[in-house]
């Protein structure tokens, strides 16, 4: 049955074979230009932060953060303050709580799970307390962005927060790497491993919360995990792997936006499907083959 559906909904403009025309067509609409711009910024940040998220096994935290912001925004609407404030407070606060409770790899997913569950429970309470006044749609609107609904103003904010995030990662880069590779040694050498974990989760929370607001939950999460995981299979040199992760994230985003433009399916479907397939291919290839080894030798 599926093929019928598939053919049925191909409603986009067909790509010509002329590259210039195609690009012009793609960028004809403001919302597509905005999507490409914001998508690229988000992809760069996700590529960088994702490297550490994957290295430290923090995908769950990366996902939990997008749930948690929801509770914060709902709570903010309830007490009548700006939802964005609630979102950021809750996200960064919960990220820090996760960091404090889950120092080591083991047991950290428990800390994340319990903090997330509690945040969701609080969100539930806020919704009950605020029943009937459209609170949730208001916080929904604040929380869940859409890559096709990005305004110029969104891009400016995204650029601002992204720069801050990248700057912070730059400052903590070497200590973060040390703590991620050999926590006990790094701690002995004076790196504040636990505090760093808390700070990193805070940074991740900030980046994810603001990206969710712009591009949506799925896009940021897929970009956070898949490109970095693939890059770590291609290069064992951290700076190279981070660069590869960024390039992959940007390519994924562009490809997904382009495919979504020409075929009438959601951007997030294309992005997650590309990420999934690319990850499978890298894993299948990663077992040994010669070209990969050569690539590894170089990168």
């Amino acid at each position: 049955m599926t093929p019928t559906f598939l053919l049925d909904t191909v409603v986009g403009p067909a790509p010509s074979l002329n590259l210039v025309d195609d690009i012009a067509g793609l960028l004809h609409y403001q919302f597509m230009r905005n999507a490409f711009e914001a998508g690229t910024i988000v992809a760069i940040v996700a590529g960088v932060i994702g490297y550490f998220v994957v290295l430290r096994g923090l995908s769950f935290a990366g996902h939990a953060v997008s749930h948690i912001g929801y509770a914060g925004a709902t709570g903010a609407v309830l007490i009548g303050v700006a939802p964005l404030g609630g979102l950021l407070t809750f996200t960064v606060g919960a990220a820090m709580a996760m960091g404090f409770l889950g120092k080591r790899l083991w047991g950290r997913d428990v800390a994340i799970g319990i903090v997330m569950a509690f945040s969701l429970g609080l969100g539930q309470l806020f919704v009950t307390l605020y029943k009937g006044s459209g609170s949730t749609s208001q916080s929904n609107a604040i929380l869940f962005g859409e890559v096709l609904g990005i305004s110029r103003g969104d891009i400016v904010i995204t650029l601002g927060i992204s720069s801050v995030t990248l700057l912070l990662i730059g400052i903590f880069y070497r200590q973060l790497l040390f703590a991620s590779l050999a926590a006990e040694v790094a701690e002995a050498r004076g790196v504040r491993v636990q505090e760093l974990g808390v700070v990193f989760l805070g940074i991740t929370g900030l980046a994810v919360a603001q990206s969710v607001q712009v591009t949506g939950v799925l896009l940021i999460f897929a970009l956070l995990v898949a490109p970095a995981a693939i890059a770590q299979r291609i290069s064992t040199r951290p700076p190279y792997a981070i660069a590869i992760s960024v390039v992959i994230a940007v390519l994924f985003t562009w490809t997904a936006l382009t495919l979504a433009y020409y075929y009438g399916y959601p951007v997030s479907f294309f992005l997650t499907a590309i990420a999934f397939v690319a990850y499978l291919v890298t894993r299948a290839a990663g077992s040994t083959p010669a070209w990969m080894t050569r690539l590894r030798g170089r990168a």
Partner: protein, 279 residues
């Protein structure tokens, strides 16, 4: 020990330590002088690793006074090189051994680490350290996939490259082949003398470091004894320490070997048991 004074890198004065609800040991007094190697010996679970963690400030003393590099230790120190007993490196860690060693040199610094003279010098240091521990050949492979001994040598290189004032090594010769046990204990002694740093090394096997040790710390039964090797590495002293007959023998070149007297050894609780004769 007798020359205790302002030149000491680290000193314990009547220190005790508790973990959980157990007192591991107490009444320890010792100092580490620049340019000397101190061996830490003692049975399993006696608290050797705990001594290192105490000096690093990762475990607090329950009594007494600890001074490391002029102040009470706290949260580790960039001036101390450290090789832990268990590396805890994940088999799938997708990073080269060389990068871990490089982090030994710059992993406590802030910022991204731009290329430049300092960076080049650090890379040279890394190459030297890798070559000194014989790890050059596999330094570019993913660290998790390396053999136990290969990882151990990279951890050592990481500690050496940090230009430390103190070097704490927890069973650094574990998993090393005989040849590298010799190479590396020689290396550590040379570094201690050339750079005038203090080395504290936990070990069970006294042979490879016998002639390089300036001071021996024995930890057993909750007590900590400190002395010159010649005073402590005797049949009487060791037998008493280990609660087992230990013989100190010398080979034709005059070197010392400590040998357990197998014939007389048996487990105290279960004499002659083989752990499975109940089948």
């Amino acid at each position: 020990m007798e020359t205790e004074g302002i030149t000491e890198l680290a000193c314990l004065k009547n220190v005790g330590v508790r973990l959980g609800d157990r007192t591991i040991w107490s009444g320890a007094s010792l100092c580490l002088a620049p340019g000397t190697v101190t061996a830490v010996l003692g049975p399993n679970g006696s608290g050797k690793s705990t001594l290192l963690r105490l000096l690093l400030g990762l475990v607090p003393p329950s009594s007494g006074k600890v001074q490391v590099l002029g102040r009470p230790p706290k949260h580790g120190s960039a001036a101390i090189g450290y090789v832990p007993q268990r590396s805890g490196i994940d088999p799938d860690l997708p990073v080269r051994g060389r990068d871990l060693v490089l982090l030994g040199a710059n992993g406590t610094r802030w910022g991204w680490g731009l290329p430049g003279a300092a960076s080049r010098r650090r890379h040279q240091l890394v190459d030297k350290a890798l070559s000194a521990v014989g790890a050059t050949a596999y330094a570019n492979r993913a660290i998790g996939r390396l053999s136990g001994g290969e990882q151990q040598r990279l951890l050592l290189a990481q500690a050496l490259v940090s230009e430390p004032r103190l070097l704490f090594l927890d069973e650094p010769l574990t998993s090393l082949d005989i040849r590298n046990q010799v190479v590396i204990s020689q290396l550590v002694t040379n570094i201690a003398q050339e750079r005038h740093i203090g080395v504290l090394m936990v070990t069970h096997d006294i042979n490879p470091i016998m002639n390089v040790v300036d001071q021996v710390v024995y930890i057993a039964r909750g007590r900590v004894a400190v002395g010159r090797p010649a005073d402590i590495i005797t049949t009487t002293a060791l037998s008493e320490l280990y609660d087992a007959p230990v013989e100190v023998v010398h080979d034709h070149r005059g070197r010392v070997f400590v040998v357990g007297l197998e014939a007389e050894v048996a487990h105290p609780h279960d004499h002659g048991s083989t752990g499975g004769n109940g089948r």
